[in-house]
């Protein structure tokens, strides 16, 4: 039983903003009485999901022309998912499914919740020890968890819902080599943030930084000092990707295998403040 709290509403609004659509969804979410949601028993919702949802979200929920929802439960909780199925994402292309009725919608929700449990999997190490490694290696100098830390690198508050343990391990040992590109077109912009780029303006100014936002006509780069540069692509003589480059040092040699597994376990458990 999960109650919609303000953080959950914030998460919902965040997702909507990810669709380029910052509409206040609070109106329907706030004040909702808690609803019982069945535990993740999956199967009855599987054919329903594959019939009504898979065309946009993919057969395994990993996305298509709709977003990847494998971790939707971690972000929204069952009630948040249920709200979306009933109300839709206004303007995003996500329709409502009132004709399915409450019971079948809950079966779909249960099935979607099971994706998250399946994707979370078994962790390779000890998360508590990993948290200590995170502290001792000063990761918070560049990363935020639950509002605390520096902002040079990605906010890791929900990193466990975005990267698998394997991808987390790769990101720690080979920063910059693996970009999390397993997103659909709509999501991709959000995942582009940690690509390094070098821009040269027509008057010869050079800026190297992390890509914060990017579209057809503009790009925003954050430089090593944290300064954000908003650039019109028409004003640039050059804009190049720097794949494999990262300001994050590799911890390939700085962590034992056990320590790496512990750190990965801690990060995999970061699934958003509740």
């Amino acid at each position: 039983m999960i109650r919609i709290r303000s953080s959950r509403v914030a998460a919902l609004v965040f997702i909507l903003c990810g669709f380029g659509l910052c509409v206040p969804f609070v109106a329907f979410a706030a004040g909702r009485a808690p609803q019982a949601t069945k535990p993740a028993a999956a199967p009855p919702g599987k054919p329903l999901f594959e019939g009504a949802c898979a065309v946009c979200h993919g057969m395994d929920g990993s996305g298509g022309n709709g977003p990847n929802i494998r971790h939707a439960a971690a972000r929204l909780g069952p009630n948040g998912i249920e709200d979306l199925v009933k109300v839709g994402f206004i303007g995003s292309g996500m329709p409502t499914f009132p004709q399915l009725g409450d019971e079948k919608i809950r079966q779909i929700v249960d099935y979607v919740v099971s994706f998250d449990q399946e994707a979370s999997g078994t962790q390779p190490g000890d998360a508590q020890k990993g948290k200590e490694i995170y502290r001792s290696k000063n990761c918070s100098q560049c990363h935020i968890v639950n509002g605390q830390g520096g902002n040079l690198g990605p906010d890791l508050t929900r990193v466990g819902t975005r990267l698998s343990p394997g991808s987390l391990s790769d990101a720690i040992t080979s920063p910059g080599l693996k970009l999390p590109l397993d997103a659909n077109l709509a999501e991709r912009a959000a995942f582009r943030a940690y690509l390094m780029q070098r821009a040269v303006t027509k008057d010869g100014r050079e800026i190297t930084g992390l890509r914060v936002n990017d579209d057809t006509f503009s790009v925003q780069l954050r430089d090593a000092g944290g300064q954000i540069h908003s650039l019109r692509k028409l004003d640039l003589q050059k804009l190049e990707d720097l794949p494999g480059k990262s300001w994050m040092p590799s911890y390939k040699d700085g962590l034992s295998e056990t320590q790496l597994n512990d750190l990965v376990s801690y990060l995999a458990g970061l699934r958003g403040a509740r």
Binding site: G20, L21, V23, P47, L48, E50, G51, A52, A54, V55, G58, M59, D60, S62, G63, G64, N65, I90, G91, G93, P95, F97, Q99, L100, K104, L179, L181, D182, N184, L185, A186, R188, A189, D214, D215, T216, F217, S218, L234
Partner: protein, 540 residues
């Protein structure tokens, strides 16, 4: 029973006030006007700009020299939210647009102020299986505005007040029929198709008397027992064959032929129960406008299992092929090939890929695809380019007779296709009839681009790459410009000859509609619908 609710927003009073303001607001569109639409470029008089679906305007006040100074003139915000795909019709100062799902709004083009608005009452148990409850626009003929509704009615409205003149039932929404397309007005007739290709139904194309609403003919796009073509459907799969007509077609008045694309066979990604070519799905149909008889068909994707509808409006043009003047119909198809056909006979003349495709080795002499092995969806997923969304979808390409180029919004994207349940369950919203699904390719550098293709060969002359996706068609003008937009909310103008970007504005949210241009009081405007607003621009 449903009853219509006429919502008079400022209604007759506003119309009277405006009539006093300008006599130009007194439209009466004749068939001859639409036939010669290029003679009145101030109006955007039919869905495709003209009967040939060129989406080309003779207006040239906005040109390559001054496009950079375009400014916003006004914005119309929807009264409700939804998927906004309208392509406005403009006649003598009136702009007629549709709001999702089936509202018609008449605006004064000078100010963007509503003159009237009409909203149908829709059933509470409305079925929209495999489609969004949206609408792409109206048709006008005489002093009447024609609109189709999401619950599958065709309605005639008084152009000055929005009052209902007649309303006819096209098809049964309870069976899954739902209409999102703009109707086409020809000489005394209104033509409409329907959507619902995932709902377990048979597609159809209808003609109605423009004055009375009486149905004049119906063409089923899937043959029934005893008719030629039914043998292309295994078992009784023709009963839910799909092949819907969910976008607006084109018309050749000299040949008196309509050209209408059809959608996927059903279920989409599992063809086991429908062995055969599945005529006339994923095809272009040439239809006698007087009788509704099919003169010829061309099937782009026989036995389709990838949802590659032939829904985008076909472009009609005349050009020389091998030194011989030909009447052509061209289509940049969702399956990734650009086709050139003789529109008198349906003869295949050429076809080349305009995006990366991995499903066909090529096309044979008759235009039939020579398939690669193992392209069908599978339980474990089969990687194919293009994706389900396709190389192009419903958005309209444009054609400039000045450059000889067709401008398309092309999508470069692959996907894993999954095979699901083999059977349809008609009108079952739980299953949506797809029989599978897709997962886009991990790490795939997918993108969209506005591409200029030689109209007679399909050869790319230039492209302008977009970041992310696009669901917007293109608009070409005599000012040497091509307008389009992307899902990030950028509306932009390109040089039609080179693809060089000349102007862009960020309207704040995704566009998924075709832009149009028009003029009033000697001033040219360009307009595009994006998310919940219609944005209109002009020179300062």
């Amino acid at each position: 029973m449903k009853s219509l609710q006429y919502v008079a927003y400022a209604g007759v009073l506003a119309a009277l006030l405006l009539a006093g303001w300008s006599s130009a607001l007194a439209q009466n569109v004749t068939y001859d006007d639409i036939l010669h639409s290029s003679a009145q470029p101030q109006n955007w008089i039919t869905y495709g700009g003209n009967y040939s679906s060129h989406r080309f305007s003779e207006l040239k006040q906005i040109d390559t020299q001054n496009a950079a100074s375009l400014k916003m003139e006004w914005v119309y915000q929807l009264r409700r939210t939804g998927i906004f795909e309208t392509s406005p019709i403009v006649v003598d100062g009136y702009l007629y647009m549709t709001e999702p799902p089936s509202t018609v709004t008449a605006l004064d083009v000078r100010t963007g102020k509503a003159i009237w608005r009409w909203t149908p009452e829709l059933p509470k148990n409305l079925l929209t299986i495999g489609l969004f409850p949206t609408n792409r626009g109206v048709a006008v003929l005489g002093d009447t505005v024609y609109v189709t509704t999401i619950d599958s009615y065709l309605v005639a409205l008084d152009g000055k007040t929005g009052a209902v003149r007649w309303r006819v039932h096209v098809a049964e929404n309870k069976e899954g029929y739902a209409i999102t397309s703009a109707p086409l007005a020809i000489n005394g007739k209104i033509i409409t198709g329907t959507g619902g290709g995932e709902a377990g139904l048979r597609g159809l194309l209808d003609a109605y008397d423009a004055k009375t609403g009486k149905r004049l003919w119906r063409l089923w796009t899937v043959p029934t027992q005893g008719e030629p073509g039914v043998e292309t459907w295994g078992g009784d799969s023709w009963k839910w064959g799909g092949a819907t007509t969910w976008n607006t077609g084109s018309y050749d008045p000299e040949l008196n032929l309509l050209y209408w694309g059809t959608g996927n066979p059903a279920p989409d990604w599992n063809g086991d129960a429908r062995q055969g070519d599945n005529l006339y799905s994923c095809s272009l149909l040439a239809v006698d406008a007087d009788t509704g008889k099919m003169k010829w068909y061309f099937q782009f994707s026989p036995h389709d299992t990838h949802d590659w509808d032939a829904a985008e409006p076909p472009i009609l043009l005349d050009a020389a092929i091998n030194g011989q003047p030909r009447k052509l119909v061209v289509m940049a198809n969702r399956n990734g090939f650009y086709y050139v056909l003789d529109r008198t006979t349906g003869e295949f003349l050429s076809g080349v890929p305009f995006i990366k495709q991995t499903w066909a080795k090529g096309l044979d002499a008759k235009g039939r695809p020579i398939l690669m092995p193992d392209i069908d969806p599978s339980p474990q997923g089969t990687l194919i380019y293009p994706s389900i969304t396709g190389a192009i979808n419903f958005s309209s390409p444009s054609y400039s007779p000045l450059t000889g180029l067709v401008y398309v919004t092309a999508r470069e994207q692959g996907a894993y296709y999954f095979k699901g349940r083999p059977k349809m369950e008609p009108a079952n919203p739980e299953l949506a009839g797809g029989g599978g699904g897709q997962r886009v390719l991990t790490g795939d550098p997918a993108y969209t681009a506005v591409r200029a293709l030689d109209a007679t060969t399909g050869k790319m002359k230039w492209q302008f790459k977009l970041v992310g996706d696009s669901w917007t068609g293109t608009l070409a003008t005599a000012g040497g410009l091509v307008f389009s937009a992307d899902v990030a909310g950028n509306f932009f103008a390109l040089d039609a000859a080179t693809g060089k970007p000349l102007w862009n504005v960020h309207v704040g949210a995704a566009a998924r509609a075709n832009p149009v241009t028009f003029a009033v009081d000697g001033k040219q405007y360009v307009a595009v619908a994006a998310t919940n607003s219609l944005f209109v621009f002009g020179l300062p």
